[in-house]
């Protein structure tokens, strides 16, 4: 039983890796960016857990900035993904412009909130 699960898991990771290898480079870059943002958020949360959350607005804006960046990047990834049928008629330039606008708003708010 245990062996079959581990074998299944191995096969799964194999196919996941092969499937992921097929994704275009620009999507991989976005993925890297998302992972980086999430990691930064995680580091901040760990730091908060160790040191304390005293300037709470700073902590909040730091973490939410990272999460927000990640979420927006995921949205961009969804929109520029060629396999995604829902966004066939959305040009990638438009998607990127929206992404930039949204990021701008997000970081203006964060700068305001940082205190």
């Amino acid at each position: 039983m245990a062996r079959s699960t581990s074998k299944d898991a191995q096969a799964l990771f194999q196919s996941l890796r092969s499937a992921y290898a097929a994704t275009p480079t620009n999507l991989k870059i976005i993925d890297l960016y998302v992972v980086f943002a999430v990691l930064t958020a995680a580091i901040q949360i760990v730091y908060m857990a160790i040191v304390g959350s005293f300037p709470f607005n700073s902590f909040l804006s730091g973490v939410l900035s990272c999460i927000g960046t990640a979420v927006l990047a995921v949205c961009l990834r969804i929109q520029v993904n060629k396999d995604n049928k829902e966004f066939k008629d959305l040009p990638p330039e438009r998607a990127f412009a929206d992404f930039v606008l949204c990021n701008l708003v997000l970081h203006l708010v964060i700068m305001n909130f940082l205190g």
Partner: protein, 776 residues
């Protein structure tokens, strides 16, 4: 050739339809604005009621001192001696909006006063709200339904009651913000555009600025997302509509001082975070499903889901622990009374005492949304065919708002737009079916049915409009209807497609029946219009600061409130403190510009209880309490002479309850005879000796010789008495407001030596006291 002619004709009709829709929208805006002007025409251009006076005062401050002073404003004229940080405890949306309008208008050299701007803010925004309703309903069901819904919203009585000219309250702009936020959410959901998601977050920010009801949005949208996920309607558009909204919305909400860290700390917002996590898990699952082959996916499901569930449970456990560790389980009193309608009346008399926090009665549904109540079920059915993401959202909106409106009267306001949208959909679908069956049976003259509907009544115009743009309304409902639609456009000109004709045939009703049905629907609409105009003109436009009554000898105007406040502002010192029940606090500070002890903000229960205790204590104890609060004048509202029912005697039991909640020596049964509240000769001695009774009925017997109270319809119990610690300084024309001054404390040495003597010599003491007042 036929084809080109068709396309030419359609574009022409499209253009014509667009212009027509724009024109109708303009008319709807004018209608929404002008139906709310009854209060100005019948009375005058004044601010209404209680809370609007506070908002008006804040706006005055903002326009005078500027935005930065506004944020830092510490108001020392209320809640004496505590004061109140206005900038940090007020929802600034309304004030900033009116202030901006005032600033723009004045920089264009149009000299409007701040009061005028404040009076007309609500009607202007109700026009905006009806346009927002149009947009929202258009996203759900097309242009025809949108126009109908907008016309209905423009004159729904429930919304009129909160947005007549002069009713300068948060709800005035908040309903617009609410509908507009929902519209942008639906728009994002339909298009999957990040641009609209950004706009959505900004609209949500405006809503958070405007009204505490924003928690409705931040709970309803996650509910809808959850619903979509559970029913298997997850799409990447849903992710784009929701995930950025949570992050941006939370940050933006935290920017508003009155919300601040509450945006992440209180459990009203936790639902959105929970769904935020869930949607990420679901998005990951869908992504992996798309990448892997079905067989491998089955393997993955077990792995991913088990890990995901563990994470989810951990997060839920953390959240539950957080909620449980905070006092009142993290829910504020008002929200708790939403979930459990009996909560407030059981635990918080100060919430229960506000009449708009009571559960509504059945007649109030009929009064406030009228025929819409019957059309809503039809609208819900129409939303189910076909069920889209947008229409499921509207269904969820109506269901939750019906529940909330059943808890609190004032949340009828949230129900009203939902009811309008549903009824708009129902009406427009019905008209579409009927007009189409007429159209099919009169093959030669499809235009004729449009012409006879040239009336000005809203339903007629929308019906007519419906016929003109049946194809347009179907355009927005995705591919399948639009294909059907193209076939239908060809029908009158080219050869009809057999299949679609067959489909249509099934929906065709007999000619007579459909004409009759249209007639009945128009009648229903007319009835609604008549009722709404009546409600706007008669029921909801009284400013409550000026009262009128019709009697056999003509119209009587009672302007006693302004008379009293004007007296206060002209005859008292600037720093004098005026005590009254909290209802009149805002008006006193705004109109008389005097410091008050408590006001309508009701943030400090103890302080209100102190005033309640003073009002329900005997004279001497009350004098001591008031004196300790540095009070100079006491103001009571008394309706016994003219029959004004919402006076202080009728509110008195709440003073007793609230006072008794903090100071246990005040007991409600002491004021009731056999459980009955009465002020006639059967009343309890505690009641007859309490300050409120005495201040209300002092010298009352001199008016008609009997002391007959016209509100309670009895003769009062104790007719002849003197006041020893208070002195009547002013009573308005109709005795509706009575102002008393606290007599100055007696000379210490005399007062100490003989208590009885001090009582008998009170008259002389008063005389000498006013001459050399030690407090001046």
């Amino acid at each position: 050739m036929a084809a080109s002619e068709t396309s030419n004709g359609t574009t022409l009709r499209h253009a014509f339809g667009n212009v027509f829709a724009l024109f109708i929208l303009l008319l709807i805006g004018v209608l929404a604005f002008s139906i709310r002007l009854f209060s100005v025409i019948k009375y005058e251009s004044v601010i209404h009621e209680f809370d609007p006076y506070f908002n008006y005062r804040v706006t005055q401050f903002l326009t005078k001192k500027g935005i930065y002073d506004f944020w830092n404003w510490f108001d020392d004229r209320t809640w004496y001696p505590l004061g109140r940080v206005i900038g940090g405890t007020v929802f600034p949306g309304l004030t900033l909006t009116a202030g901006t309008i005032w600033w723009i208008v004045n920089s264009l050299n149009i000299p409007l006063s701040v009061e005028t701007v404040c009076v007309f803010t609500a009607p202007i925004f109700s026009a905006f709200a009806s346009w927002a309703t149009y947009l929202l309903t258009k996203e759900v069901k097309g242009v025809g339904a949108g126009l109908t819904a907008a016309a209905l919203l423009a004159m729904v009585p429930s919304y009129i009651s909160r947005s007549v000219a002069g009713s300068y309250d948060n709800e005035a702009v908040a309903i617009f913000a609410l509908i507009f936020t929902f519209y942008l959410y639906i728009k994002t959901l339909n298009t999957g555009s990040l641009f609209y998601a950004t706009l959505n977050a900004i609209a949500y920010f405006y809503m958070v600025c405007s009204w505490g009801g924003y928690t409705f949005i931040i709970n309803l949208i996650p509910m809808h997302v959850l619903l979509c996920i559970v029913t298997g309607r997850y799409s990447s558009r849903l992710y784009i509509a929701y995930a950025p909204l949570v992050v941006l919305g939370t940050l933006l909400a935290a920017l508003v001082p009155v919300v601040g860290f509450n945006a992440v700390m209180t459990s009203e917002h936790f639902a959105s975070f929970l769904v935020f996590i869930i949607i990420h898990v679901v998005a990951l699952v869908y992504y992996i499903k798309g990448v892997l082959s079905p067989r491998m996916f089955k393997v993955a499901v077990t792995l991913v889901l088990s890990v995901g569930l563990v994470v989810c449970f951990a997060v839920i456990a953390v959240l539950v622990a957080l909620v449980a560790s905070s006092p009142t389980k993290g829910w504020s009193g008002r929200s708790l009374s939403l979930l459990d309608p009996t909560y407030a009346s059981k635990y918080i008399p100060i919430i229960a005492s506000v009449s708009e926090h009571q559960p509504p009665t059945w007649p109030s549904y009929f009064m406030d949304i009228n025929v819409l109540a019957f059309l809503v079920p039809a609208g819900i059915i129409a939303c189910f065919s076909p069920l889209s993401d947008a229409s499921s959202f509207v269904i969820l909106y109506i269901v939750t708002s019906v529940y909330f409106s059943g808890v609190m009267v004032r949340l009828m306001l949230v129900l009203a737009p939902a009811a309008c949208i549903m009824s708009g959909i129902a009406l427009s679908e019905a008209f579409e079916v009927f007009t189409r069956s007429i159209k099919f049976q009169l093959p030669g003259a499809p235009i004729d049915s449009q012409v006879d509907a040239g009336d000005k009544s809203s339903d007629n115009t929308t019906a007519q409009n419906d016929v003109a743009k049946t194809e347009k309304s179907e355009d927005t409902i995705k591919e399948r209807p639009s294909r059907k639609n193209k076939k239908k456009e060809k029908e009158p000109v080219g050869q009809p497609s057999v299949k679609s004709r067959f489909e249509k045939r099934l929906l065709v009703l007999p000619l007579e029946a459909s004409i009759l049905a249209i007639f009945l629907l128009v009648l229903l609409g007319a009835f609604y219009v008549v009722h709404s105009v009546w409600a706007a003109a008669e029921a909801y436009s009284a400013p409550s600061i000026v009262l009128t009554s019709h009697s056999h000898d003509g119209l009587h105007v009672f302007d006693d409130f302004r008379e009293a406040y004007a007296w206060l502002s002209h005859n008292t010192e600037v720093d004098d403190k005026v005590a009254s029940w909290w209802d009149y606090g805002y008006q006193t500070t705004a109109m008389a510009n005097r410091t008050v002890i408590v006001d309508n903000n009701t943030w400090n229960n103890t302080h209100i209880a102190t005033v309640g205790t003073a009002m329900s204590s005997p004279e001497k104890a009350a004098w001591e309490i008031f004196n300790s609060l540095d009070v100079k004048y006491v103001l009571v509202v008394f309706g016994g002479l003219v029959g004004y029912p919402s006076d202080d005697i009728n509110k008195f039991l709440w003073m007793v309850r609230i006072g008794g909640g903090v100071f246990p020596h005040i007991k409600e049964p002491d004021y009731l005879r056999d459980g009955q509240y009465r002020i006639d000769s059967q009343a309890t001695p505690t009641m007859l000796n309490c300050l409120m009774y005495k201040l209300s009925y002092y010298r009352f017997v001199e008016t008609d010789g009997k002391g007959f109270d016209r509100v309670r319809r009895t003769e009062i119990g104790k007719k002849y008495f003197k006041l020893n610690y208070f002195e009547e300084v002013f009573t308005t024309h109709h005795w509706m407001v009575r102002i008393y001054k606290l007599k100055p404390p007696k000379n210490r040495i005399r007062g100490k030596t003989k208590k009885s003597k001090s009582k008998t010599s009170s008259k002389t003491g008063k005389r000498s006291g006013t001459k050399k007042n030690p407090w001046h």
